[in-house]
């Protein structure tokens, strides 16, 4: 599998900024629409759902990067942080819309709902987990945290599962959209877990085959 890996594509800084900027256009556009009464009868809900949907879209992109690399299609790992951060910003705007525009900062209502309704508890769990991932999405954290960083960022698979469940629960019935995105999230998340398990297995095997390169610390 690794032999089929596509070569790394290195983005320029400008490119990454442009991706972020373009990635935020759906939010900006809909905010403008909403502020100018162009989002129909229930603008707050439309905006709230739109932000959730785009968060999931960028999450799918983020999760698809590794399999695309492994299948030899294209290697965009250097773009992954940018897409991951877009997921985070959409989640922030989604949650802020819920708290401010929808619940009008009624903190008691927000707290009451978010801690008792499984649908929102799952969303909250996903959001809470996204925060440390976003906070450590920088070179300094990668350097300082070492292996812990990798372990932490495997949390993205849990975010995928939670977001998928939250999405499915956001509708009265199963819909093509919610089932489609949730399936994408579950499959990509599961693929990530499988990749990790395999990778760790290989590491252990290769470690066993090359005892010389492994400094023995015990016995």
């Amino acid at each position: 599998m690794p032999s089929r890996r596509a070569p790394v594509v290195f983005p320029s800084r400008l490119e990454l900024w442009l991706i972020t900027l373009i990635g935020l256009v759906p939010a900006g556009l809909y905010f403008w629409y909403g502020a100018h009464n162009q989002l129909g009868a229930d603008p707050v809900n439309v905006f709230e759902r739109w932000l959730g949907l785009w968060g999931v879209r960028f999450l799918v992109v983020t999760l698809a990067i590794a399999p695309l690399r492994d299948l030899g299609v294209i290697n965009l790992v250097r773009y992954r942080r940018t897409f991951g951060l877009l997921v985070f910003w959409y989640a922030v705007m989604h949650v802020a819309t819920y708290g401010v525009l929808d619940q009008h900062l009624d903190l008691r209502a927000v707290f009451g709902e978010v801690t008792t309704k499984p649908f929102l508890m799952v969303g909250l769990a996903a959001f809470v987990l996204l925060c440390p991932l976003a906070a450590t999405s920088n070179r300094w954290s990668i350097r300082t945290l070492g292996r812990l960083w990798g372990t932490l960022h495997r949390g993205v698979y849990v975010v995928a599962a939670l977001a998928g469940v939250h999405f499915l629960m956001a509708f009265k019935t199963y819909t093509v959209t919610s089932v489609g995105y949730a399936a994408a999230l579950f499959v990509l998340g599961a693929a990530g877990v499988v990749r990790r398990v395999r990778h760790n297995g290989r590491r252990r095997m290769s470690a066993a085959n090359e005892p010389m390169r492994r400094p023995k610390t015990t016995g």
Partner: protein, 313 residues
């Protein structure tokens, strides 16, 4: 007395709220001075009699009432019904009223027009999804219709069945989100006989648009909106609680009674407050506190005396 007339009206005949309000005041003054109010508007007017069944809150703009709909027969999104109901034929139409009644009968819309004077009622509409509207309906009390067929003593419930027309209703052609068609709703007989319980044939003075349940729908203002079966073809009086669509699909989310109750939450969200629908962008309509029985407690609370409304949600 104004009679129910059902002239055709195009779906795009959408009046702004201002125009509607102007028209109303015109109608009122016209009636007061003895002018023929029939000439006040083009074909399409139902000429409904005003009633005291009205609320103070401003009516939701007509454009929102007719473009933001839950009518799964035409699709899942709120915008689907207006988009996908163009091919639906609400005429000719009959509704069969039978079951435990002395005089079972099939009514055409003309029969109903001849029998039932049309009146206007401005009701609150509270959706189980925690949003609300205020809608000027035109129609008649269900009790008046039931009076015509004479329910028998052992009739305890009323079941409402919506039309089944997969050819004209894309949402009925199966697929993931499909419900068990046809849509069925139900009321206890005493609820059905309550003066508030209404059969609408129009809104904002005109015949019901397809997306709002043409040509005939149920309106029960103290219950969540899904109780209001649309495009009704059959009304059955029965002895046992009918198997209603949403209740049998997800009993822990949608009760048979479905009375608006701010103290009993939906499993996925609180019912304590509601988003007020209205095209005013992010910072307009806002939120309001949900009232017990949607504010109609005075008229209906006695129906549930002694009942545990947490158990019978």
């Amino acid at each position: 007395m104004a009679r129910l007339r059902l002239p055709a009206v195009s779906g795009s005949d959408i009046t702004s709220r201002e125009a509607w309000l102007n028209r109303r005041s015109f109608l009122v003054s016209g009636a007061a001075t003895g002018l023929g109010i029939g000439s006040a508007r083009a074909a399409g007017t139902l000429k409904a009699r005003a009633t005291s069944y009205t609320v103070k809150d401003p009516p939701t703009p007509r454009v929102d009432v007719t473009t933001y709909n839950n009518f799964y027969e035409f699709g899942l999104d709120k915008g689907d019904p207006v988009q996908n109901s163009g091919g639906f034929h609400p005429e000719p139409w009959t509704v069969r009223v039978d079951g435990l009644v002395r005089q079972p009968r099939t009514f055409s819309m003309d029969d109903l027009a001849a029998l039932m004077p049309v009146e206007e009622r401005i009701y609150r509409m509270r959706c189980v999804e925690a949003w609300s509207m205020v809608i000027p309906w035109d129609g008649f009390a269900l009790a008046a219709l039931l009076g015509v067929v004479e329910p028998l003593g052992d009739a305890k419930y009323v079941a409402f069945e919506s039309v089944l027309r997969p050819d004209e209703m894309p949402g009925q052609r199966g697929g993931l989100a499909s419900l068990d068609w046809p849509y069925v709703e139900g009321l206890r007989l005493d609820e059905a006989m309550n003066p508030l319980t209404f059969m609408a044939v129009g809104l904002y003075g005109d015949r019901l648009p397809n997306q709002n349940g043409a040509p005939l729908r149920l309106v029960v203002p103290w219950k969540y909106g899904f109780k209001g079966a649309k495009s009704i073809v059959r009304i059955r009086l029965v002895a046992d609680m009918p198997r209603t669509t949403w209740h049998s699909m997800a009993p822990e989310e949608y009760g048979f009674y479905a009375n608006v109750n701010p103290t009993v939450d939906h499993p996925r969200w609180s019912q304590g407050s509601e988003r007020v629908i209205g095209s005013s962008g992010f910072f307009g309509a806002g939120r309001r506190t949900t009232e017990m029985f949607n504010g109609y407690g005075e008229q209906v609370a006695s129906l549930y005396a002694g009942m545990d409304l947490r158990r019978w949600y």
